[in-house]
């Protein structure tokens, strides 16, 4: 028990340390770049110096970065203020959408992104695992060759390209909506009609995301199952006269799923950032679009908030993977 306990403490400790570094790095990263938001507003003959000064003060950009060494309160700095607000759960107010709280913007974006990525991930995992399994089982047949080619092509096609192609085909042939998450201004007779509209809008982006993710799952699952099939205990099971179905269900699948668990956990950490390209193609109002726009406008608070959220997702997913692995495979825990 003590082995498991210290393993847990060590992993959680590292995760927290990583987060602290991410927070610091986030803060520094956006401030070592040239230019600042008050100045980017300022490059216009109609903006007076007084306005620039007022905006700089409002954003807190007139304060020193880390420590105030010029007298007064040494902790009256941008970094201390940032960490202090963060501890209170306040992510600040957007510079670009000047009157909007960042937490609110990120919250709306996250919900929209989850609508997109959760169905796509679930579909990709289910179809990818099943297809990989079948391909491995039918190894060497035309079915396997087809699945392998299919998987490789999907893995190789750039996300935005696949999105654009599906967008053209879907809107031209099937009259599917190309942007947004609902028919704007529509009035629905029932909740089902509203849900149907959402599904229509979700169809193309979800299809794109599923296909993009599918290839990797299919290929890894296939090779993992093939590897397991070459193990002695599979031969033993065959010798015992077990049916192929039982061999796969009871012996091959569980072992073959080990690398998949890692892959899924790591992918879950990146699902939010991975949707950026798809959100751009389909104008999906999620975290990805929000982040891209914030990068363009140098919107520090939104960027810091979004990056923090992405970092937390990755760190948590990795932590989950490590803990899960430790639980699945005792050798990892003991090491």
């Amino acid at each position: 028990m003590s082995g498991r306990g210290s393993y847990l403490v060590a992993k959680v400790g590292w995760a927290l340390l990583t987060l602290a570094l991410v927070i610091t790095f986030n803060f520094v990263l956006f401030r070592i770049l040239p230019g600042d938001p008050a100045r980017s507003v300022a490059h216009d003959p109609r903006v007076s110096p007084a306005t620039v000064a007022a905006l700089t003060a409002r954003f807190g950009l007139d304060k020193p970065l880390f420590l105030n060494l010029e007298g007064g309160d040494p902790f009256d700095s941008q970094f201390v203020a940032y960490v202090g607000r963060l501890a209170a759960g306040d992510l600040g107010v957007s510079y670009n959408f000047r009157d909007r709280p960042v937490a609110e913007m990120l919250g709306i974006g996250l919900v929209n992104t989850l609508w997109l990525v959760v169905p796509a991930q679930v579909l990709a995992i289910l179809i990818g695992v099943a297809a990989g399994l079948v391909a491995a089982w039918r190894r060497g047949t035309p079915l396997d060759a087809g699945a392998l080619t299919f998987g490789l092509v999907l893995w190789a096609v750039p996300t935005f390209f696949m999105g654009i192609i599906l967008l053209f085909l879907g809107s031209a042939w099937f009259d599917l909506p190309t942007a947004g998450k609902g028919t704007i201004g529509a009035e629905y007779a029932s909740i089902w009609e509203e849900l149907g509209d959402l599904v229509r809008h979700l169809f193309l982006p979800t299809l794109t995301f599923t296909l993009v993710l599918l290839g990797e799952y299919l290929l890894i699952m296939r090779s993992s199952v093939i590897e397991v099939f070459s193990e002695d205990y599979i031969l033993t099971a065959k010798a015992k006269g077990l049916s192929t179905f039982r061999i796969i269900r009871d012996h091959a699948l569980r072992n073959a799923m080990l690398p998949m668990v890692t892959l899924i956990a790591i992918n879950l950490g990146f699902i939010v950032s991975g949707a950026i390209q798809i959100e751009s193609v389909f104008s999906w109002p999620g975290l990805g679009e929000l982040t891209v726009n914030a990068v363009r406008k140098r919107d520090y608070p939104v960027l810091q908030g979004a990056f923090l959220m992405l970092a937390i997702a990755v760190v948590l997913a990795n932590l989950a993977a490590e803990l899960l692995y430790g639980w699945l495979d005792p050798r990892v825990r003991e090491a």
Binding site: L33, P34, G35, D36, R39, S40, V41, A42, H43, D44, P45, R46, V47, S48, P49, A50, T51, A53, A54, L55, R58, V93, N96, F97, R98, D99, R100, M105, I108, I164, L167, F168, S171, A172, D175, P177, T178, A179, G180, K181, I184, G185, S280, V281, F282, S283, P285, E289, L290, N293, R296, R298
Partner: protein
């Protein structure tokens, strides 16, 4: 190509002012097929769906920076004075206005019967409150400078406003065109107007806000008791479709009725599409692409921020004239804009009507003439490497003495790399080399001005309806402020700038503004490859009567949206 390339975060390019009153006098060119037969009872109703690329950055008119926000303000608010499709100022909330002989007191009479969307009347008190709010809130990015000369504002009666100025101005009407009148009873309770989100967005304009979802949509409905009369349609929905290809697809398959910008490469697709009309026009007030030189003299180098590393040959007007003569504007327009732009001249685009100095002669493209200019000025290729050298008398031309210039462009301009390439092609033919590098807008600003750590830059501006603002980027006073990109300083130009700023006679001011443009051309302070045009596309089977030409405020301006009718 985009409708209004706001490459520097400038620009109230969006539509300015309402044109409802003018519509009865001036018959808009009908653009729908069913217009002619609609002699019975004209149809009303319907909700127009518009696909655009962005989303308003703020519903608070003081805070807005993006053109999408200004499009919305034009629909939801009224201003005292508006602008019409001819680029002329016209009555809006103010029925008439006059100035005292000394130019220091302006009196405006207001319409009677105007109300806000919440039903409360709009009076001179609201106008006075709004003008003072915009003038006094320093954190509002643009509006304080429009009101900076308003010394005091009186409201002697509910329908009269008297404004006392600290100094006479020649652009009073332009200053009034962005004064979106706010309801005093709501705004006077707000402690921090900059932090106020204004989600109700109560105005007095032809459309009232229903919902706004950031980065998704804005829904407006017609204001039933609008003082100029209710719009013919019931409402407008703006949907954010950030992907340009998706916008084009949304129009062709009927998901939207109008798209406000799309890539030039989609024009043939749209022209061939059924029931879709592509609309191209000069934009009011317009925008421009510019190429400019580091011209800051060593003695003018800003003491604090100046780095001033410009190539000395660019201080020689002969070199700048040669570069201008070797710029093939038509080629740049044909290749990068697919022909959809007007050749450029100066900082005042043709969308500004008579302020545009059409009589000023540009440098005609000629490689031979450009070569001759450089030969005559003593820039010869003495070492036969294909690149000319500075004359021996000129020091600081670098180790080789070559006419090799750094060339930076803003990398958020899609066409910029191609434009830089084309320039390099023609300039190489006159023995000039450029080293091209794209930079993001913030980095570009940091090397541009007031650092002056560059040789040549390609960038863009959106114009204000008044020519004064953009012409002001070339005056001596701005060299250290960051607004002067070139470091150019010419007292004769400055005198004209001051004179046009206080000239209240329109024709006299136009003359001064033209003289300034002549100087900009003579001294080659800026080279303007082209003025982009407005390119929009709309469906012809849903609504008719879009207000087109001669200039355009954009089909999403109230000028159009208040008069179009559904086709059923």
């Amino acid at each position: 190509m985009r409708r209004s390339p706001v490459h520097r975060p400038v620009v109230l390019v969006a539509a300015v002012g309402l044109v409802l009153a003018a519509c009865s006098a001036q018959s808009p060119s009908p653009s729908g097929s069913a217009e002619a037969s609609a002699s019975v009872a004209p149809a009303t109703g319907g909700t127009v769906r518009i696909g655009w690329s962005g989303s308003p950055d703020s519903l608070n008119p003081g805070n807005g920076l993006l053109s999408e926000a200004y499009t919305l303000y034009e629909l939801v608010f009224d201003t005292p004075i508006g602008v019409n499709n001819d680029g002329a100022y016209e009555a809006e909330l103010a029925t008439d206005w006059s100035v005292s002989d000394d130019g220091l007191t302006w009196t405006m009479n207001l319409v009677e019967g105007a109300t806000f969307h919440d039903g409360s009347p709009l009076t001179a008190d609201d106008v006075k409150f709004t003008l003072e709010l915009y003038r006094d809130t320093a954190d509002f990015p643009y509006l304080p400078s429009y009101g900076d000369v308003f010394e005091s504002i009186d409201a002697p009666s509910p329908t009269q406003i008297v404004i006392h100025l600290s100094s006479a101005v020649g652009n009073f009407e332009a200053r009034m065109a962005f004064m979106y009148i706010l309801p005093k009873h709501i705004w006077e309770t707000i402690d921090d107007p900059v932090a106020f989100q204004n989600e109700e967005m109560i105005g007095s304009g032809p459309f009232a806000l229903v919902t706004h979802v950031q980065n998704e949509s804005v829904t407006l409905e017609a204001f039933d008791t609008y003082w100029k009369g209710r719009p013919n349609i019931d409402g407008v929905i703006f949907q954010t479709i950030s992907n340009p290809d998706a916008r084009v697809a949304a129009l062709t398959n009927g998901q939207v009725d109008l798209i406000t910008e799309f890539p030039a490469t989609a024009i043939t697709t749209l022209q061939d599409a059924e029931n879709v009309e592509v609309y191209i026009a000069d934009t009011f007030p317009g925008s421009l692409r510019d190429v400019f030189f580091n011209q800051v003299l060593p003695e003018n180098c800003p003491p604090d921020d100046g780095v001033c590393t410009g190539h000395p040959a660019l201080l020689d007007v002969a070199v700048r004239r040669a570069l201008a003569t070797a710029m093939d504007k038509q080629q740049i327009i044909d290749v990068t804009q697919l022909g959809l732009a007007a050749p450029g001249l100066t900082l005042t685009p043709p969308g500004l009507g008579d302020y545009y100095a059409s009589e000023v002669a540009d440098y005609a493209f000629s490689i031979d003439a450009a070569n001759q200019l450089l030969d005559d000025a003593g820039y010869l290729d003495t070492d036969d490497d294909g690149i000319r050298e500075c004359p021996a008398s000129m020091t600081d031309c670098g180790p080789t003495g070559d006419l090799t210039f750094r060339f930076n462009y803003a990398d958020d301009i899609d066409e910029a790399p191609r434009e830089a390439d084309l320039l390099k092609g023609t300039w190489n033919q006159i023995g000039v080399e450029i080293q091209i590098q794209g930079l993001d807008a913030d980095t570009l600003t940091s090397v541009c001005c007031p650092a002056f750590d560059y040789d040549i830059m390609l960038w863009g501006w959106g114009s204000d309806p008044d020519p004064g603002w953009l012409l002001g980027v070339a005056i001596c006073d701005e060299v250290g402020s960051g607004f002067s990109e070139t470091g150019y300083c010419n007292p004769a130009y400055d005198d004209l700038y001051v004179a046009q700023g206080i000239e209240t006679d329109h024709d006299a001011r136009v003359d001064l503004v033209h003289q300034m443009q002549q100087i900009l051309i003579d001294d080659v302070v800026y080279m303007i490859p082209y003025y982009p045009q407005t390119v929009e596309a709309y469906r012809t089977d849903t609504y008719s009567g879009w207000l087109t030409g001669p200039l355009t405020l954009g089909l999403e301006d109230p000028a159009s949206l208040a008069i179009i009718r559904p086709l059923q």
